[in-house]
């Protein structure tokens, strides 16, 4: 229908450590076609884009441009070949003006800037997109939508033939989405091939000509939009084999520990309501950008909520600082263990005892290092942290062992509510099973656990109930029997229940 494809990915595979991120994926992009790429978190979409834009190299497979094999070694090479990508967060130089931002990638034009010509060309490109923007205005202060337009203009100035849009609508209002789609359709009519990635199914069905679905690094289906229904798309995205299904014990007690009602933080999330009982694991499911972490941070006082109530043990509380949260028995193990979780140059023992140092004082007020070491030894045994000694700096441990040190640190605060944010991301299968065992053991001891995880099978296997979020809103709470991958994905993508059942 469109003749020959511009860009063809043939049998692309790529491995990262133990993860097969892409496994023999083939994809053809035709000029004048909007091609939607769907998949759960970790399905391989990002890796595929990064290979197209030269950030990663495939382990095997071929990339053909106009039918000829090409090698894309860097984003610069990708741009020269006419392949560009724009992301959810536009890449802007805030102190440069619109025109400069559009032409920033144009090197090799001699040492002098021809300002008049640059402004004229910038205006031409923007009018081609039917967008009105002052090209002399600095990028700082432009709305996200306007910044995206500038990015699209930048791509156009480079004679783009393949435009990859990675969740471009995530930060836009409905009206801005309409405008963006008008631009995208105009580009399509000009013969640009567009690869469109979104977590919003209704958008995909509104704009895409073809829908391709990835799951676990494999291509599951690729068909014209007319042949795909939302139900089928969701089924194809979910349907993931649950390996390592963890047998959870029934540990939920009657006593409600924390009641959250209508919790919100302006501009971030709102209307979050749930109960957690002692011994219960409440899973938080959702796609990237669902704002689950922000709810965790609010409960821990890092970025406090500004509306709604939190009731602990029957008392309404306000939590504005981590120290306060810890006093109420709340602990939060961050997803970003290197950035937010651990003090890498410090020893295992010093990391574990840090939040609770006062527990290790002699009557004179001095630290009992032996006591610290024995606490660390206890967790080293309990979580099987593999290290020659607890005095080793954390920076020298493997990812899985670092994760265990961070968990030890928070377990050592003896929490009653433990918030685990992506506790198994980036760790190997063995360590993952150990973390799952730990969660089950803690629940059996009566600890309430909020498990935020993008690994849907993990959430389903570990949780007693699952709260689903989408774009800062609560889409529903499913108990263990109701929670299926299809239902949770449908909720996470904003599809109503009736669509899937």
């Amino acid at each position: 229908m469109h003749g020959a494809p511009v860009l063809e990915m043939r049998d692309i595979s790529r491995r990262f450590g133990n993860t097969q991120a892409l496994d023999g994926v083939s994809l053809r992009l035709y000029p004048g076609e909007i091609h939607a790429l769907l998949g759960e978190n970790g399905a391989g979409k990002s890796t595929l884009i990064k290979i197209m834009t030269g950030v990663h190299q495939p382990d095997s497979g071929q990339i053909l441009l106009d039918g000829r094999p090409v090698h894309i070694g860097s984003t610069l090479e990708a741009q020269r070949l006419g392949i560009a990508a724009i992301y959810q967060e536009p890449l802007m130089y805030p102190d440069l003006n619109v025109a400069e931002n559009i032409f920033i990638a144009h090197a090799n034009r001699g040492p002098w800037v021809d300002w008049r010509r640059m402004y004229r060309d910038a205006e031409n490109i923007l009018s081609q997109l039917d967008v009105r923007l002052d090209v002399r205005q600095p990028a700082r202060g432009l709305s996200v939508a306007a910044q995206q337009t500038v990015e699209i203009a930048r791509a156009l100035s480079l004679q783009v033939r393949v435009l990859i849009m990675d969740e471009p609508t995530a930060a836009l209002s409905a009206h801005e989405v309409d405008q963006l789609f008008a631009i995208v359709q105009r580009l399509r009519d000009q013969g640009v091939a567009i690869l469109f990635i979104s977590h919003r199914l209704e958008e995909v069905f509104r704009i895409a000509d073809r829908i391709t679905i990835l799951r676990d690094g494999q291509l599951i289906s690729s068909a014209p939009r007319a042949d795909v229904t939302p139900e089928r798309a969701i089924r194809d995205m979910a349907g993931r084999a649950i390996e390592l299904l963890f047998p959870r014990r029934d540990t939920v007690r009657d006593r409600v520990l924390v009641q959250v009602r209508d919790l919100g933080r302006t501009g971030v999330f709102s209307g979050i309501s749930f109960d957690v009982r002692e011994g219960e694991v409440l899973g938080f499911a959702g796609l990237v950008g669902a704002r689950r972490t922000d709810v965790g941070l609010a409960l821990f006082g890092i970025a406090p909520a500004d509306s709604g109530t939190i009731v602990i043990d029957g008392h309404a509380v306000r939590i504005t600082k981590p120290a306060q949260a810890m006093r109420y028995g709340i602990a939060y193990a961050s997803e970003d263990r290197r950035g937010l979780g651990l003090s890498l140059p410090m020893s295992i023992a010093a990391n574990i005892t840090l939040p609770m140092l006062r527990r290790y004082l002699t009557p004179m007020g001095l630290l009992r290092r032996n006591a610290e070491a024995s606490t660390a030894e206890e967790y080293r045994r309990r979580l099987s942290i593999r290290t020659p000694s607890v005095e080793v700096e954390v920076s020298r441990l493997s990812g899985g062992n670092q994760q265990k040190v961070m968990l030890s640190k928070w377990l050592n605060t003896k929490p009653r509510l433990l918030i685990l944010d992506e506790p198994t991301r980036g760790i190997d299968v063995g360590a993952k099973a150990e973390v799952h065992q730990m969660i089950d053991d803690l629940a059996a001891e009566g600890v309430a656990i909020i498990l935020i995880s993008s690994d849907l099978p993990e959430v389903l296997a570990m949780s007693d109930r699952v709260l689903v979020m989408r774009e800062g809103r609560q889409m529903g709470i499913f108990n263990r029997r109701e929670a299926t991958q299809e239902r949770i994905l449908a909720a996470a993508m904003g599809q109503s229940e009736t669509l899937t059942s």
Binding site: L340, P345, L354, R358, L367, R369, P388, R396
Partner: protein, 352 residues
């Protein structure tokens, strides 16, 4: 080698490795460097290894070392205090002029005054950095100039002279507490050594010390652990100011004659001492002892090169700069290298 000897060797290696960490090796390597410098200078320069050289270095290290301890506290939190030179100068002059005006003032009052004035100046730095969120390098560059200006205004081109001071001040620095042969143990050095011992202890065995390392090595993780980062930074700056104030008193006792330029350049010397002494400029590691050893090594090299190659005083500053760069470069290289060795050893053990 029989199996048994291998096992014993591995065992002792393990025990040794568990006790000494690469970071402590850093202090050890400073001691080795100091010994090497002493040997070379002693061999090359006539009369270098004399009581006179020792006493001279010890007295000047006492002052820079005292400032360097405070600088260590600040650098541990990923900050820097460039105003210490002006604090030393201001307190030296201020306390000197008070003593000159009131000869009856006793030693405890004079010392307390020095510490209080220094502490106040440190407190101001700390407030601006921790609560005003102005980068430390900018803040203290500003207060470096401001405190110096205050001193110049206050001094109004006058000089505190030895004669105007009560005699105990000058005696304090000349006194010999204990002598081993010609090597004299002077009160200045004792005060600084005692302070090093105290802060070595504070850093190693108190909640405050541990928290300083924590906010330096990962401020975000420290926040998540509920540490009051702002207050800790404020305290670090205040203590740094207090120690600089104390150093100002030592300065007064050593020189007796104080002008408005007193203490200029100490900021650079203290930063050099701290960096050479193995305190990581990105925060999180280093000790008070290391900083003192760093100050000692720098002074030793300065004195030695001065006499050996006949380099001029002006070269000393260049030498300082060079040492800072070398120390930062070697920090990464040497430490990485030591770690690798350590790791290899650990793997051998682990494999067994």
């Amino acid at each position: 080698m029989s199996n048994r000897t291998v096992r014993i060797k591995v065992k002792t290696m393990t025990a040794w490795r568990q006790r000494i960490r690469p970071e402590q090796l850093r202090e050890l390597s400073l001691v080795v460097l100091i010994a090497a410098a002493l040997l070379i200078f002693g061999w090359q320069i006539e009369n270098f290894l004399s009581a006179r050289t020792f006493n001279r270095i010890a007295t000047s290290v006492a002052i820079v070392g005292m400032v360097a301890i405070g600088q260590t506290l600040v650098v541990l939190t990923r900050n820097i205090d460039l105003s210490v030179g002006s604090i030393v100068g201001f307190t030296a002059y201020f306390v000197g002029s008070q003593l000159a005006a009131n000869n009856a003032m006793g030693a405890p009052v004079a010392v307390a005054l020095a510490v209080a004035v220094g502490g106040l100046m440190g407190l101001i730095n700390g407030l601006i950095v921790a609560y005003g969120r102005v980068p430390a390098i900018i803040t203290t560059l500003g207060t470096l100039a401001i405190y110096r200006m205050l001193l110049i205004n206050y001094a109004n081109a006058r000089t505190v002279t030895v004669d105007s001071l009560p005699s105990w001040v000058v005696d304090f620095s000349r006194q010999t507490l204990l002598s081993i042969g010609d090597f004299a143990v002077r009160p200045l050095m004792v005060v600084t050594l005692a302070t090093v011992v105290v802060f070595q202890f504070v850093l190693g065995y108190t909640v405050f010390g541990r928290r300083l390392y924590a906010i330096g090595s990962n401020p975000e993780a420290a926040r998540f652990a509920g540490l009051p980062a702002q207050r800790l930074v404020l305290i670090a700056f205040t203590l740094c100011g207090m120690l600089a104030g104390l150093a100002g008193f030592l300065f007064l006792a050593r020189f007796g004659t104080i002008t408005a330029v007193a203490g200029q350049g100490i900021e650079l010397e203290s930063v050099a001492a701290v960096v050479v002494g193995g305190v990581n400029t990105f925060g999180g590691s280093g000790t008070a002892l290391g900083a003192l050893l760093g100050a000692f090594l720098i002074d030793l090299l300065g004195q030695g090169l001065l006499r050996w190659l006949g380099i001029s005083e002006f070269w000393r500053d260049a030498l300082l700069g060079l040492l800072i760069l070398l120390a930062v470069a070697s920090d990464a290289v040497i430490l990485g290298w030591l770690r690798q060795l350590w790791q290899r050893g650990a793997e051998v053990n682990h494999g067994r």
